[in-house]
Symmetry: C3
Subunit: 679 residues, 3 copies
């Protein structure tokens, strides 16, 4: 799986901040972690001032001591580099290290992540502290790995300091070589934006009325990602230079960052911070919201980066900052459920965030497994149970791969371009959501597949079906790849707004879907958005079923002889025109839908593409998630009940509950929030 | 109509940006315009860097070539001065040219309209480029007229650069001569705002809590208007100095700009950019919203500036920027309908925006009549049909005048004062909307009438009825004018909040409605706003009909013997008191309503004032608009169906459909979005 | 009551701005005030430029004249120091006096309250003008008292000028002596915020993502309060130094200001500006909103500062600035009702704001008792009636004390901490609102009690019941005080989230409710917030009544033998667990509710604590407020009808209507908005 991280079994751990607590608590804290069966403890991120109380003065005593105490009890330490929170002495002496808002207001000391990636001072000072730490801990037997910084691009994912503007100019120069190329790529002839000298080039700035050049904006996000990666690489390189057996990772997953590239270039594997409790409080006006279960999609995306991964922060209780993000306590059973959700999706290490609720600062309501008062509570008891179970099954399952025959395609260019573009971006998230729900509610395991410059047909052929809903940007090369995937037997599902842009985010002078017209066998003859105060069209599927539609409508024109109309529009001026077309191409099939997907339509296409082969094994109610991890030809089946009510399931062949060792066959009842792991 | 613009027939045209496209497309593009029957093409605005790639270096090749190509095919070029989008080299070298937010944040290069009107550098550099262009194109036979800048005050209509503050100080000094006069006009004795030195005087600035002096704010808007006009005049004067037969205009209509004064002082006629499609997506919570038909009011206001005008940008398809304003595609028939909407209201030239959808930049979703791909589409076909029809009827109708017996009164002082004043401004827009709807739905053609210092009774007498709903500011002179209008036979309709302010926006120490008390025959004895959580009063009209009310209530006290109570309040503490009073004065009548107008009440007053004399000619359903243009005693009747459903109309006398030549009598069915032009 | 303010009878007065009006109006204005029976007139605040037209040049003529005219007619002048609105010459010459937004944008001249309390220049210039005024008016027989500034902390209650940052650093240094103490108090070890040098210490600044350190934020509010008090004290000291018989006060009551400390350290008594009309327009989504009657709570808080107080601004008509806060006209009777509301709650002087509606400036819609036009109106008539009545009863009631057996507890630390903390602050306002409504609707007079470092049991014992709903911050000392209160017979009612924080706002490492666990006889064994999309639990009160709950749930664990479960949870995972516990302690009782109070639950506890002893005297409908002021063993009973409908009341013992002298017994009808004062 990864270069240096070879887990021998799935284990648990916890995030711990010894510096927050009186020294006299440490021994007992580590002792209790041990007793809980934890193996890993994460420490050190956010502790720069402790490591370097004054510029150039270093102090390792506190963590040396803590790491040693942990080590003596058999706990492995993951050490964080402390760069997410620069010291007050640093930002005060070097204000150029601060991140700055687009309109020029610097973000000051007082919270976290207020630095920028491109300040020379910050790079230098970061490099110094990481070097000192790496040199100090390189042979420490307690330290098994490193976390670079903390949650890159969290809280804020745009950067407009002077250093960023200058670095962007340099980045653009390297990318485009000449201003002429840059002017072409950014379409600056529109609205007279042509640059005639490099010193006129900036990151997007305050414009009238807050509508910067969209192609520049796309490059800005590529630049932010590159900046973060290069900053992380600087740290990773230092750690690798001074250490041998300690692995390197960081914890994500935030916007404007190509986590795949980051992982390839800098990390041994990828770690994620999983907070499904957000799902209980975030507004979700979509049909049949998934709530906490939505995190299964996030975990699927993480899996596309590292097939097996670690959770560095697993929700431990009620959550929230002092002023925002307030979440209730997990109901009894939910902490356990969410831990299994992580493991079911590929996590081989889960660390709870955090050992004990902070008694001070912005996060006093991000509760740990222990409360402020340190007295026993039900969360600790629940974690204790999980820990015992994981000790039982952890060795068996470790390294097993998640099984999926269908993948929803992600692509950074389209994600970043779509974030700004109301004519494609919003449709992508609606359709992904509809597809993921349809697959979840029908118990079809699904992967995320990241399409990028390194993608190849071999990799893609792993999936019988790929859903790439509204990929505005499709280069000729990508179109060829997708054609070849279908040609070799793949089933590709596309939605409206596909293929009309090139990699600069400019539109082709071609009929939609651009380079994919040949594969799809259609072109788009007319299109319109949903008019907010007018009736919406419907799709008549297979001449029978009337399906509601939303958002966008492309009227398709059949261009290929073998293109088959699966759905026609109704109740609109393009009544009777094709809206959903299937076309066999080589060994495979391509489906083009001229609209935005709904759960109902996705379900039709799930049937059509015949990927649900677990229906024969289980009969499952909607609120139960099915995940399967496979190792050496053995399937481990996770059945997770997200409802607070008992659910009846039907296991059609005899299997074994590996948590109890009991045989399971036919009707079984799964309690509210309960979990079943079968083999 | 105008000095130099004498259209021989109504014609069509298109906006074209040759610089966006490969040169090899131009010939074909112009050829196709020609084939479509277009006569005009607009070019050049937004092309400053092409005309002046470096400061002082000029280049006309591109446009020389394009204009010549167009000319050779018989297309007349309207040339835009390119000042709406300064070059990067300019804003980078002269940052003082930038507009700045009230709190001091400059608007940077990257979009458009980020300059200010008062920077000396910008005036100088604008004057140089306009001079160079005027000198270069003054005898070019292809160039028939000029568009100054583009959409003055669009996107942003406030200006707070250093140059603006200084110019405002100068403007105030010229207006008030002494600080004592300024202090009086701005009521600075309130809250100790008294200025004791001119250098303390600024445009409004950031205040606690965002509530600047309202009288200063009113002057600020007058200043912004004067700044824009003086900037446009600077350009107009240059063009006129160097050219002979080319007319000068600009395209509007945006806030904080006295378009009438602008037109009188600078332009040959006024041009408008018409986007009725906005009406389909903008939130409109009012009763019976007009949607796209609302643009008929905008066109009426344009007509009050230029009785016959041009549309320089007529919606051509789906619209929207990358990030906002997203609109669906016009339904089949709507592009045609909207073109006739413009013509029915007085347009003698209509140019579509734009020839081809931009493939780059912020406006890639402001679709042209051609798509990115340049392949045939239904919009082109629809424009083709319109073009053939206009070629048929354009000569007949050109120059004909819109006919209306009633006008809704506009006044810049009240518009600007009311924008900031929650005790009059919001009522004005509600009442205008109600009146316009009542008139539209009852097929009573209506004008906008701009009341200003040049207004006179002769001009006003053209209208049997004037509706001036909530004119807070009424000077003694204006009051005299309105009295004389009524005295000579006019019917004047006033609403609550009339006449209580002078021209500084300060209140009179007089009973309401101030100088209009004599004419109206009433004073206001008590008043109140609608209390949001309490029941609203009703008006009992003519002792019979109960009419709902909203927003504001003035209890009227009868002061003149011949004042007649038409409506009394009910269901409130002022139960039975007069709310609507009619008073004969001289040859005419004045109606005073102590509230805010509703459609229902406006309909009662339409009956009362007996202006609907087309009822004998037609029987029309609500969704059909009636407009009449008259030339040499001949009426051209436009019937426009804004509904997507067929509508039955009844033509009571035989007429001729001038698009088909067929006779029309009695029942006729008008298809969805269809248009009938009768004579 | 107060040192120098000994009212001989309750009287009325009015705020007057002679500088706004032509001199020729003054005599008549004062004459009419006299005729209306007014005794007091407030003048001078906002007139700095008149007193000091240029720096160091003073001019007292205008006010000398006005004060003399008033005095000659027997009107007593309250003089305002004019520091709420610095002159243009001042802010222009000394821009450091301006307040500044957190992100660094200065608030400029043009409105009011744009200065900061800590600028040395502003302190010096304020001190000079106050000294000059005090010296000039110290023996003026017309001037009876002073108002310092105007509405401290109104409009804006945060301050981030350079002077404030520096003063805060000094304040923190004085408070904490060492950085180590400050670091501990602010919990800076969290997120590496540790300060290593004093010059790194600022007020909160712009952070990512707008979440400053909460403990620093709490200190920031304490600092703002101290700054305002020290600024007011500077003025008060000057006035006292130069005057003898003139009292000193200011008018409040705004946020981030310890009005009790201010009054103790600086004022002779406290004055309030009462605008119940706001209650008619402010959004209030709570159950059974109180609207204008909500102001009775504000008046109760004022009473906790000064048992008898003055109203310096009593609503006089429709209200609103040009751009916001727009309110309808008071209905006939409401001005009178609201005046009695003030008096019923302890006001011994009521001044109407203002004499005449301003004809200029931001407040042209804050109507005075006279309209712009100065003609008679119904408001004047109503005030005339009130004035006659007050002249009749004013001597009898003056100085009488409001009677209440229950108090709702206020505490500045918790108010300031809770403002920022979503896990306690919002619950406090919801519960106070519920309690106040339950008490109002059940006719139980209630006080506000301010708990602070000077509180003592003697003072608290005045109340049979104290309700301290969600006091997050409870020090050991406060806990002891509350225990002693109960021990001596008090009944204390606590809600969830009690006692878990210390005075820095950090959490204790103790079971909840911290130092109050002993008194309450419970600890909190589990808790959760309301999950927005899930069902809410219920409380079963006394095993019988099902009561709805909201927001927060603490599962209580019985720790004391005599703790009695009054309510259990239902419909949740903690079904059947205690949620409401009663515990006898010493002579008294403590009630702990693990949730947020509703009207319904508060009503149950009102019954339980048996405080409603007026039920035997009156039978009152919900919309009538009962207030009682007592003097020398005589009760003055105010019955105020907030409804516009007549209300039937039942007076169970014969009493006298002191406004009419008539006997009142058994059924009486109170007209809409009417008032009955009985003895």
């Amino acid at each position: 799986m990864t270069k240096k991280w070879t887990a021998e079994k799935i284990t648990l751990g916890v995030c711990y901040y010894p510096e927050h607590w009186p020294e006299e608590l440490w021994e007992d804290d580590f002792q209790r972690m041990k007793e809980l069966g934890f193996t890993y403890v994460r420490m050190g991120e956010f502790a720069w001032t402790i490591f370097e109380p004054e510029e150039g003065i270093y102090s390792f005593d506190l963590f040396d001591w803590a790491i040693e105490k942990a080590h003596n009890l058999g706990l492995k330490t993951v050490l964080g580099t402390p760069t997410a929170t620069p010291p007050a002495w640093l930002t005060h002496k070097y204000p150029d290290v601060l991140n700055v808002s687009q309109s020029g207001i610097p973000y000051q000391h007082g919270a976290r992540r207020h630095y920028n990636y491109n300040s020379e001072n910050y790079r230098r000072l970061s490099s110094v502290i990481v070097t000192e730490m790496a040199k100090h801990y390189n042979t420490n037997p307690g330290v098994v790995g490193w976390q670079i910084d903390n949650e890159l691009n969290c809280e804020i994912d745009v950067f407009y300091s002077e250093a960023d503007h200058l670095a962007f100019r340099k980045w653009a120069k390297e990318k485009y070589k000449t201003l002429d190329h840059l002017n072409k790529a950014w379409g600056t002839v529109f609205w007279n934006q042509t640059y005639t000298s490099w010193d006129q080039v900036y990151l997007t700035r305050t414009t009238v009325p807050n509508s910067p050049n969209p192609h520049q904006m796309l490059d800005e996000k590529r630049f932010i990602s590159d900046s973060a990666i290069s900053y992380a690489k600087m740290q990773g390189d230092i750690i690798r230079k001074y250490t041998n057996n300690q692995w390197v990772t960081t914890n994500g997953m935030f916007k404007h960052l190509d986590n795949h590239k980051l992982t390839n270039e800098v990390l041994d594997f990828y770690a994620y911070d999983s907070y499904p409790n957000f799902g209980r409080v975030l507004e979700d006006k979509s049909e049949k919201p998934l709530r906490d279960r939505k995190w299964s999609w996030n975990l699927s995306v993480v899996r596309s980066i590292s097939p097996n991964f670690a959770i560095f922060e697993q929700q431990s209780g009620p959550g929230g900052w002092v002023t925002r993000l307030e979440q209730p306590s997990p109901n009894p059973g939910q902490l356990r459920l969410w831990t299994y959700q992580s493991i079911a999706h590929g996590a081989d290490l889960v660390m709870y965030f955090r050992w004990r609720t902070a008694t001070k600062g912005t996060e006093i309501y991000w509760h740990g497994i222990n409360d402020y008062h340190n007295l026993p509570n039900r969360r600790i008891k629940e974690v204790e149970q999980v820990s015992k179970e994981i000790q039982l099954i952890g060795e068996k399952i470790v390294g097993a791969s998640y099984q999926a025959e269908i993948a929803i395609v992600n692509n950074y260019d389209n994600e970043w371009d779509g974030e700004f573009d109301k004519w494609s971006g919003p449709f992508t998230s609606i359709s992904k959501d509809a597809w993921f729900k349809a697959l979840q509610y029908n118990h079809v395991p699904v992967d995320a597949y990241n399409l990028n410059r390194n993608s190849n047909v071999e990799e893609m052929k792993k999936y019988k079906v790929l859903v790439y809903s509204h990929a505005a940007i499709v280069s000729e090369q990508t179109a060829d790849l997708l054609k070849e995937y279908v040609n070799q037997g793949g089933q590709l599902i596309l939605g409206c707004r596909t293929g009309y842009k090139d990699e600069t985010g400019q539109t082709y002078m071609k009929a939609f879907p651009g380079y994919l017209a040949e594969l799809t066998g259609i072109t788009v003859e007319d299109f319109t958005r949903e008019a907010p105060f007018e009736a919406t069209p419907k799709i008549i599927y297979q001449e029978k079923t009337e399906i509601k539609t939303t958002n966008f409508y492309e009227v398709l024109k059949i261009e290929a002889d073998n293109a088959e109309v699966l759905g026609k529009y109704s109740d609109c001026y393009f009544e009777g025109k094709p809206g959903l077309v299937k076309r066999k191409y080589g060994e495979g099939t391509c489906y083009y839908f001229g609209g935005v997907f709904t759960i109902e339509l996705a379900e039709k296409l799930i049937e059509e593409t015949q990927i649900n082969d677990y229906k024969n094994n289980f009969d499952l109610p909607e609120s139960v998630e099915l995940s399967i991890r496979k190792k050496e030809e053995k399937d481990f089946v996770f059945l997770l009940n997200y409802s607070n009510q008992p659910q009846e399931i039907d296991v059609k062949q005899e299997m074994t509950d590996i948590l109890t060792g009991e045989k399971v066959y036919q009707k079984v009842s799964l309690k509210g929030y309960d979990v079943l792991v079968l083999e």
